[in-house]
């Protein structure tokens, strides 16, 4: 039985990267969502290729978390479809949950348990073999071995965040959602998290991340999409996004526009410190 998908994998067109397998890990089309009168998503469409890192950008309140919650089966869309790992989120939520892991915008850890107990709990819920060993391995990998026996209530914000991400890796789900994974982390911890995300993608995991840090998207993402006023206004590689602006050659010093400039120009925010108000939340 030959299907188109198999043919495409057997004969990949030369100009396509190896990442473009026929069925995307995430496929969203026409997605709409309102909270009472507030029409947050007005028809969002995008695909995320398997094994790639996809960054969803948007100002505060643009609806990034709403998209992630719909994809994680925590929220029902009003219209449109979303599929993860080939499973429709509305029709087969159980299959979707088997395919994903969510690191929400705010660390979802149990403060009364220790770091190790949190990891063991998730491993047991996912019915992973040898939960204690899995927990110890992750503590080691995230630099939490010493803190592992302490209650999470005593952890710093960055430690909680790392534990939170570690909890999401248990069970090796093929698709991972990271909603602002590095908000509140110090520069070193951010770079560490970037390394982990890159490593996940290198090993074939699909990563959808939202972020406020444009350098993060610039650094990590294979593709970047900007969610603005309920729709995706651009979706492309960093190079494609840069090409949207007149090139920087009109300036005396030759330089390429940073992603931040692209973002602000597209979103129409003229204040250079537009992301400053993020600080108050952390």
């Amino acid at each position: 039985m030959l299907d188109l998908g198999l043919l495409l994998t057997l004969y990949p067109p030369m100009n396509r990267g190896a990442m473009n397998t026929p069925e995307p890990a995430i496929r969203i089309s026409g997605l709409q969502k309102s909270y009472k009168d507030l029409h947050v998503l007005k028809g969002v469409d995008f695909d995320v290729a398997r094994g790639s890192i996809f960054a969803l950008l948007g100002s505060n309140g643009a609806g990034k978390t709403t998209v992630v919650r719909i994809l994680s089966t925590l929220l029902k869309a009003d219209a449109g479809t979303a599929a993860v790992n080939g499973f429709d989120v509305a029709a087969e939520p159980g299959k979707v949950r088997e395919s994903i892991s969510l690191t929400g915008q705010f660390a979802a850890v149990d403060p009364i348990l220790t770091g190790r107990e949190n990891l063991v709990m998730i491993a047991k819920l996912r019915q992973v073999e040898r939960p204690k060993e899995v927990a110890d391995g992750l503590l080691e990998r995230f630099g939490l071995t010493e803190a592992g026996g302490r209650r999470v209530a005593t952890y710093s914000g960055g430690m909680r965040r790392r534990l939170d991400i570690a909890m999401s890796l248990i069970g090796d789900p093929p698709v991972i959602f990271l909603d602002e994974p590095t908000t509140g982390l110090d520069p070193e911890a951010r770079i560490e998290v970037w390394g982990i995300v890159q490593n996940l993608a290198d090993n074939g995991t699909t990563v959808l991340l939202t972020t406020q840090y444009l350098d993060e998207a610039e650094k990590l993402a294979d593709r970047i999409a900007i969610l603005h006023q309920g729709v995706i206004i651009v979706n492309g590689t960093l190079a494609e996004l840069r090409a949207l602006l007149p090139s920087a050659t009109v300036e005396y010093v030759e330089r390429q526009p940073s992603l931040e400039e692209v973002f602000l120009a597209l979103v129409g925010d003229k204040t250079p410190n537009g992301k400053q108000d993020k600080e108050e939340r952390s």
């Binding site: 089966t73 949950r97 994903i100 979802a108 149990d110």
Partner: protein, 253 residues
Amino acid sequence: MSAHTVSNAGVMLGRSMRHITRSLDTIITVTITPIALMLLFVYVFGGAIQAGTDNYVNYLLPGILLIAIASGIAYTAYRLYGDLQSGIFERFHSMPIARSAVLWGHVLTSLVSNLISVVVIVLVGLLMGFRTSAGPLAWLAVAGILILFTLALTWLAVIAGLTASSPDGASAFSYPLIFLPFISSAFVPTDTMPAPVEWFAQHQPVTSIANTIRALFAEQPVGDDIWVALAWLVGILVVAYAFAMAAYHRKIA
């Protein structure tokens, strides 16, 4: 329930039992306070109370057990509210686990922890002179009523935990429940009360439940009380469960 659900609920039970054993406050409220109340009523007020039993502890114990459970379930609401706030509730709901295990974990924890405090209080009661001639069947009936009482109030607590907008709100609903035994036959017989109070005491659930447990312990006929008590308990349980499930589905919609 599938094996998967049972395993998941077991993990959830272990988790919230840890929450209890690590919270001195919970242990004090659900066990020490009822015991202190029992000491107070037996050794301070008890001499002046004409309860009609040869031994006031025998009269009092059922009511103390009901108070202990009523204060214990407030923590179920509080823990559930905490799970919603911390985001761990959503984390569980995005995982490939039986979703019902999240709520059932809290309900099981409530059952187990309240049964533990009931056992402790009965043991202290025995030290204070509580005596019963109840056979295994009567004990079983008492256990059944207490379990039903715990379940009914726990599902009420689930509604409070799911709908509260503050941690205080989550546990405040239990104050009237803790107060109810005082206006019942739990501490003194109702016939000494002024007529309107007596009418209320006679027609609220705690009186029939306390009377039933007392009669079972004393190996006396339970009369109509047991049917009134069961009607109340099953009624509250069914209504609370229905509202709790509705609140839950609104939460995860």
